[in-house]
Amino acid sequence: MLQMVSRSATTAESRAAGGAAVSIHNLCKRYNNFEAVVPTSVEIASGDFFAIIGPSGSGKSTLLGMIAGYIDPTAGRIVVDGRDIVPEPIYRRNIGMVFQNYALFPHLSVAQNVAYPLKIRGVAKHEIARRVRESLAMVRLEAFASRMPSELSGGQQQRVALARASIYQPSILLMDEPLGALDKNLRDEMQEEIKRFQQELGATVIYVTHDQQEAAFLADRIAIMRDGAMTQIGSPRSLYEQPKSRFVAEFLGEASIFPVKTASGKLTDQTCRITLEDGTETVIRTGEDGGPGRFACIRPERITIGPKARGLANAYTGVVRESLYTPGSIRYRVELKDAGCLLKVRALPQHNTEVFETGSSVDIGWSVDDMTILAE
């Protein structure tokens, strides 16, 4: 934050204005007969951290390429701060981008890499030197200014790429799996770095990843892509707790999902009974129709295991088929008696928590609010 204070007034003002608002209208990309991105519309607010996740081939990188400008959309508009950027060539869009492999210029030093966008914009030499210093300070690489990219670690190269992508105050910052090449510990560290960086700049970030935990940690909103379409957009919490489809429920976190056979009807104003495919009956909160063709979904931490389960609205007995202690949680797979459905269960170990062995009989259950119905 000290760096923020030391910045010149003009810089501080433009930072305070934050990133641009982006609205995408019916943007699509078709290759011959293959629709890489179906007509997609989405609004991204100024200063939003917007993550796009999905399996490879789901169209997320194509979408990013169209915003950056190196992939021509088949149709649609990308409006940044009220201006459609689709007709503009890539080099006039004033967009920042961090590439998966960083794409640092190998023949230029760290300082020259970071200075490059300013040099192109004809910024005065002393001004360039000052801003490069500030920018490198922001990513804590002042001491590495004269190094070559090949002399830096992956995480340091990543930070140079961040500095280079943001030094010219682009309207939006795009990131294409920027942490894909780093190992686990470094990734966690860099996630925090990126979050801090984005908040300091107030930048609008569009972030593509296939790592759902990364997206949940970083993003204000997440879009889940599948077969070229955004199947669901929402906050990390809403996506996890109210997934609309089996795909979203399984893509984001763990879940036990069962086809619904019949809806037996209302019990009270607020609850109804449904029957799962294997015959298990369970009571859920009404609101969504749990008819055939739909799926019942329950998250592993919502299931109670042990004696406490007896008092719940849905109480069963089951057999532990798998029991695994992992740091921070105990994972089970429990088969319900006389039914056969296998539930994934995650319990938080307290000092007196009983660990159930494989083969033992347990009480298991959940309340009416724990199971959600998926439309598809």
């Binding site: 080099y91 006039r92 869009r93 967009i95 210029f105 966008p117």
Partner: protein, 279 residues
Amino acid sequence: MKHRSFLLYLPVALLLTPFFLAPMAVIGTESFSGQHGVGAEYVKVVTDQGIRTVLYNTFYVAAMVTILSLLIGYPIAYVLARLKGRWATIGIFLIFLPFWASTVIRSFAWMILLGRKGPVNSILLGIGLIEDPIRFIDNGLGLMIAMTYIMVPFIVVPILNGLRAIDPNLPRAAAVLGANPWRQFLAVTLPLSMPNIAVGCTIVFVTSLGFFVTPSLLGGDLTVVSMLISEQANRLLDWPLASALAIIVLLLTIVIFALLRLSQLASRRRDKARSGVFA
């Protein structure tokens, strides 16, 4: 460790000793065994005006051919690097197609094409671009055209390899950062292909120094050193002078490349010092 890594040079040494160093040693010895005393041949090479002109012609033609090959070869390599799949294969095939005919035949072909009454002059006269036929053969112009034509594939291949090795994200990154296509080329593509340009130019330059058939056919009055060496060795049987000429050409080539290498190192050091401004 040290004596083991030395073993890695062994295959190269085994190849170079019988096929390069030993013959050069024989030629070196031969060059000092003239009848006019030790070193007399070298004095003659350096002082004889005729020989000096031949040496100058040789290096001048080689340098011009290198520059022309680079100017023509780089755009060809650039286009080939952008072709994909089947088109890339066809492109490479076309580049190597001329090799199916020997240099002798291709040089004769150029002799006919560039002759006073050849097709090139006929066409230029026909469309009224010139009033008198251009003299290609006597003055080295035709020679440089033919040699450039022969050498272009040798510079295209290393540059093509260099361009293909450039991460496509780099020019893309330059574009996102605000560089138009021409600046992308200057900032990324050109500097990153520089080592391959150096390799291509070296191959063309060194090969051009040794051309014999093409200058014999198309050189006209212009004599290059390979023709002089051949004349001394085969017709005048002055082996010591021929050997001294060969050694001088070798030494001059080594000096030129040493200077190039030194200037490269110096500019790299300068770059590094300049980037320190921001530190």
